[in-house]
Amino acid sequence: MLRESDRRVGQDPRQPDRAFVAPLLVLAVGNPSRGDDALGPWLLDHLAAGPARHARRVELMTDFQLQVEHAVDLVGRRAVLFVDAARPAAGPPAAPARGWASLERVRPEPGRDWTTHALSPQRLLAVYEQVTGHVAPPAWVLAIEGRSFELGEPLSDEARLSLARAVELAARWILATPLPRRAAAPLIQEWM
């Protein structure tokens, strides 16, 4: 099982604050060079200037895609928000709503491993439970609609509208998620 000491593997000993773990984690995935795939990283930039400036309440993290080691980043969290770009499903044209984001609760889904390269949030939560032996923290996915994912493109106009809605949803999530009365760090010991 993962232990408190596992979080410290290779971490910088110059940072005495390492034992502290912000109770909320916003983990955004996306490639900043691929058009609207940059929505996740862009959202973090917006949050960094807003509610997330309360750094002891929330940690902002970004990566290209989810992988097993992100299970370590979930240790000690009270709640987790995954952020990712999404695109409209195939099918008949929908109503011309412009700018769209959605918040959905997700739960661990062990399921079949499909890839050695990327995990879904649900699978990552299952990995967390596999390697810690504990129930995964409550988690949500913030899906932000994008339209175009070509290399070198800027955010599309639709994505900019989606982003504004997503920032609102994420800020609400950060401020509305109840925190424990105690400091966050002892949570880890609770789980050992």
Binding site: D6, R34, V72, A85, R87, W114, A118
Partner: protein
């Protein structure tokens, strides 16, 4: 990403019931698609793994100032950005006339690279905890045996996760950031390690080395657990290509090109990487957008070759770190010192390389040069712009986790990129993967129709190469896999698809 379909109503957004799929296409897209061609006797005679090669990046960088490349190329791939970062820097070193970088820069780059190798290979250690993924479904007794081996090592998953975390910490400290680091620059690096950073990594090494040794032993036991099947599965004799150190020892960061034929004989050696175009030609085939590299002058046998761990551990004369060399000797002895071409042995070879990477990291952390204690420069100064200068050209080659990675640029007098050619590991392995899929399909096909067991086997063969298609192409993430059976004249006889949620659609 997920494939879940969510409703916008939950967000209180548009009342129109639009449905949005959160799917993996933004980074990895498309189906993995395999077509198996049958002859008149219903035997599989050819497999075509269709993947759409991602060549857009080469156009994307043309016209950009060269100093943007080391950061920009990391956006190529979420799996091995560090390998692209270093290959680009090495190519720019060559283009700018730096034969070598300052000693501290070389040490920092090597440390970063081996951190990348370790963290990438560690993912396979993690996946050994559910060996179905890497070894597929065997007969029931053999399957119980394989699962039993994995279950006897309950901590594999945790250790795999923590090894990845350690490798990423090495990357963070050498490149400056966990993702999109800027540590290497043309002519050197822009940072060195602090003593406390070095010590923070070093204290973890005994544990890291122990886990890596355990990983090699586990991979070996899993392979041995169903030896006859694993020897036969996807057995595809192929030439082997990699760079090796100038003394013939394994050097994943720098060296010259070497290739052996399938029998293990040297067919080229000591070739400077700058001349790769004299050795390798890339061809196209009408049914695939992906290029097919081959050796120009194959000494007997086909020109195509294999890169990556299985090729590397056999291409070198030795591994210069003792634990990994011991493991390599045991690996070779297990096959009677004959060339190994069983694709599932790749997982074993990969774990040997992971152990090597940990040993290299240990050696580098012992070297005071990392701390720049000699006060020498971190990077050479950039050459001044010269009016009327002609195009400059540079090739950078590195052994990325999945195999040889080539970056080749030309720079104009205005310091902008005028051309770019990349050959990534998955492209090198294109023919070898097709051959492995064909071998597996021919072995598994019952002469009638497709079935799930065959689809599993094909996936396992592809996965042994761990194709990093997010840079070679956009396929194989949460990969729906489609296998078709066709006559040589193109008539489709059967089709089976596994959707990304695991559902099987079978339509003749």
């Amino acid at each position: 990403m997920t494939d879940r379909v969510v409703s916008p109503v939950a967000a209180g957004a548009s009342p129109a019931l639009r449905r949005v799929a959160i799917d993996p296409v933004t980074r990895v897209e498309g189906h993995g698609k395999v077509t198996l061609l049958l002859d008149a006797d219903n035997r599989v005679v050819q497999a075509r793994l269709h993947i759409v090669e991602f060549r857009g990046f080469e156009r994307f960088v043309v016209g950009r100032p060269y100093w943007e490349l080391p950061v920009m190329v990391q956006r190529l791939c979420g799996i091995c950005p560090v390998s692209h970062h270093l290959a680009a820097c090495k190519a720019l070193d060559a283009a700018l006339g730096f034969d070598r970088v300052p000693p501290v820069a070389e040490a920092m780059r090597r440390l970063m690279h081996h951190g990348q190798i370790l963290q990438s290979h560690a993912l396979h250690f993690f996946h050994l905890s559910s060996p179905d993924l890497l070894f597929g479904f065997a007969s029931e007794p053999a399957r119980r045996n394989i699962l039993g081996v994995a279950q006897a090592h309950p901590d594999i998953a945790r250790e795999g996760v923590l090894l990845r975390k350690f490798g990423q910490e090495v990357i963070r400290l050498t490149s400056g950031k966990r993702v999109h680091g800027t540590g290497a620059v043309p002519g050197g690096v822009n940072r060195h390690l602090g003593a406390d950073e070095r010590d923070g990594l070093a204290v973890e090494l005994p544990q890291v080395l122990e886990w890596c040794e355990r990983a090699v032993a586990l991979a070996a036991r899993l392979y041995e657990a169903d030896r006859p099947r694993h020897d036969r599965f996807g057995h595809t004799p192929a030439a082997m290509l990699s760079i090796v150190g100038r003394d013939g020892a394994m050097d994943l960061y720098d060296g010259h090109l070497r290739a052996r034929n399938a029998a293990g004989g040297l067919i080229l050696d000591g070739q400077p990487v700058a001349g790769y175009l004299d050795l390798i030609e890339e061809s196209v085939r009408p049914w695939s957008y992906m290029k097919f590299p081959a050796l120009r002058h194959p000494a007997g046998g086909p020109g195509w070759y294999r890169v990556g761990p299985l090729a590397r551990v056999q291409n070198v004369d030795r591994i210069p770190t003792p634990r990994a060399e011991g493991a390599r000797q045991r690996f070779l002895a297990a096959f009677g010192d004959a060339p190994v071409h069983a694709v599932l042995a790749t997982h074993w070879a990969r774990m040997i390389e992971m152990l090597h990477a940990a040993e290299v990291i240990a050696g580098l952390l012992d070297d005071e040069i990392l701390l720049a204690a000699d006060g020498g420069p971190l990077a050479w100064p950039m050459p001044a712009e010269q009016a009327g200068a002609t195009d400059r050209e540079g090739v950078g080659v590195i052994e990325a986790p999945r195999g040889t990675l080539i970056h080749h640029y030309t720079l104009g007098a205005d310091d902008r990129v005028t051309s770019c050619n990349l050959i990534v590991s998955t492209t090198h392995n294109n023919d070898a993967m097709q051959a492995a899929v064909c071998a597996v399909a021919a072995d598994e096909f019952d002469g009638r129709d497709l079935n799930e067991g065959m689809l599993n086997a094909i996936e396992v063969a592809i996965r042994a190469y761990d194709p990093c298609l997010s840079c070679a192409t956009h396929a194989l993430g949460d990969m729906p896999l489609e296998v078709s059976l066709a006559r040589l004249d193109g008539q489709v006889l059967d089709r089976i698809v596994r959707q990304s949620d695991g559902r099987i659609d079978h339509a003749a």
